[in-house]
């Protein structure tokens, strides 16, 4: 149990992000059932209400749906999942570019570095 959380933000928000990542990366497959709130709370080692809040957040984003018989399942809307993945990818790229700029690299430098990296890794 016991995932790591940072101190500066609400735990439910971090949990929601973590679950989103698991969905867009395919660890939780589209259409598959999610663990129950209590089971997840026990696994992660957090309050069930925290898990509930994270789940509600994902529900309002449409990433998960509640089925009366099957509990909560990951959405079957592949377009939504891929949109969400693009959004996450853009955020990661922004973070990367900003970090590189903070080190003093220009956008051209960064392009060259990435091209060099690709040559070395092929």
């Amino acid at each position: 149990m016991a995932w790591d959380f940072t101190n500066d933000r609400p735990i439910w928000l971090q949990l929601a992000e973590h679950l989103t990542l698991q969905i867009i990366s395919g660890q939780y497959q589209s259409g598959s059932a999610l663990p129950s709130v209590r089971a997840l709370a026990a696994e992660v080692g957090v309050n069930p209400n925290t898990v509930q809040r994270a789940m509600s957040e994902l529900e309002s984003e449409g990433l998960i749906e509640t089925r009366r018989t099957a509990g909560r399942i990951v959405t079957e809307d592949m377009q939504l999942i891929s949109q969400m993945r693009d959004k996450f990818a853009k955020e990661r790229i922004n973070e990367f570019i900003n970090a590189m700029k903070a080190l003093g690299y220009t956008e051209n430098d960064i392009k060259n570095l990435i091209n060099n990296w690709r040559e070395n890794h092929e």
């Binding site: 101190n7 080692g45 957090v46």
Partner: protein, 236 residues
């Protein structure tokens, strides 16, 4: 979910010339896990003992489940004291009989399951158990009741980190969904992630009562960090 389970109005408790609780006003809802946080001597245990009816308030009013403290409230409260309460010569099975005799809401099967998860056999004597095991077995008994209010006074104080995880997990997986759990402790970083709400006590006063989410959102820091700031020694 948001029914008021505990309400205190102008609650005051003094021991001779020491004020342990000073004019406390609060309402705690049901279905919550609440941390009662404060340094030593801030009034945590006094508040819990008042809820149990082990102490009488000097003035003010205290209600649990809509009733004044008495027979009814005692029947819906499951209390873990801050010290050993089991007789040494008991065996694990005696303890279970004892609890099912005293409490009609005691779930024996649940207790058996927890015992076996702890690796305790029914014939094991309490006397031969380590301090940590004794604490765990007491908690298992307390959490096996279907109570409305669980009062846990320093449940993780004397045990190693692995046992702490076990204890927190036991609390998380076993509390009654409509029940509220009040945990008093000063080991905040260990329990912060299981809490809904935090009550900060200082010298018998409530200095803050808020949800953990609000504290993190507004302060941008954990409850543990806020605690260290509020209760910092020797700094102004």
């Amino acid at each position: 979910m948001n029914n008021i389970l505990v309400s205190a109005r102008s609650l005051t408790k003094t021991y001779q010339n020491i004020t342990a609780l000073n004019n406390i006003n609060l309402e705690i809802g049901s279905g919550k896990i609440v941390g009662l946080l404060g340094p030593n001597g801030s009034g945590k245990t006094t508040f819990i003992k008042l809820l149990c009816g082990l102490l009488q308030p000097t003035s003010g009013m205290l209600m649990v489940d809509g009733k004044s403290i008495g027979t009814h409230t005692k029947s819906v409260i499951s209390y873990l004291p801050d010290r050993m309460f089991i007789a040494d010569w008991f065996k694990a099975c005696d303890l279970m009989e004892f609890f099912s005799d005293f409490y009609s809401d005691f779930d024996k099967n649940k207790a058996m399951e927890m015992m076996s998860a702890l690796g305790i056999a029914p014939n094991d004597k309490i006397k031969t158990m380590s301090k940590g095991t004794k604490e765990k077995i007491q908690l298992a008994m307390i959490m096996s009741r279907q109570a409305k209010l669980y009062l846990l006074d320093e449940p993780i104080a004397g045990v190693d980190p692995a046992a702490r995880d076990f204890i927190l997990n036991t609390i998380l997986t076993n509390y009654n969904e409509d029940g509220t759990v009040i945990i008093s402790t000063h080991l905040i970083s260990d329990i912060e992630r299981v809490l809904d709400e935090a009550i900060f006590l200082q010298n018998g006063n409530i200095v803050r009562y808020d949800t953990v989410d609000n504290i993190r959102e507004q302060e941008g820091k954990s409850v543990d960090q806020l605690f260290r700031e509020i209760f910092a020694y020797g700094m102004q």
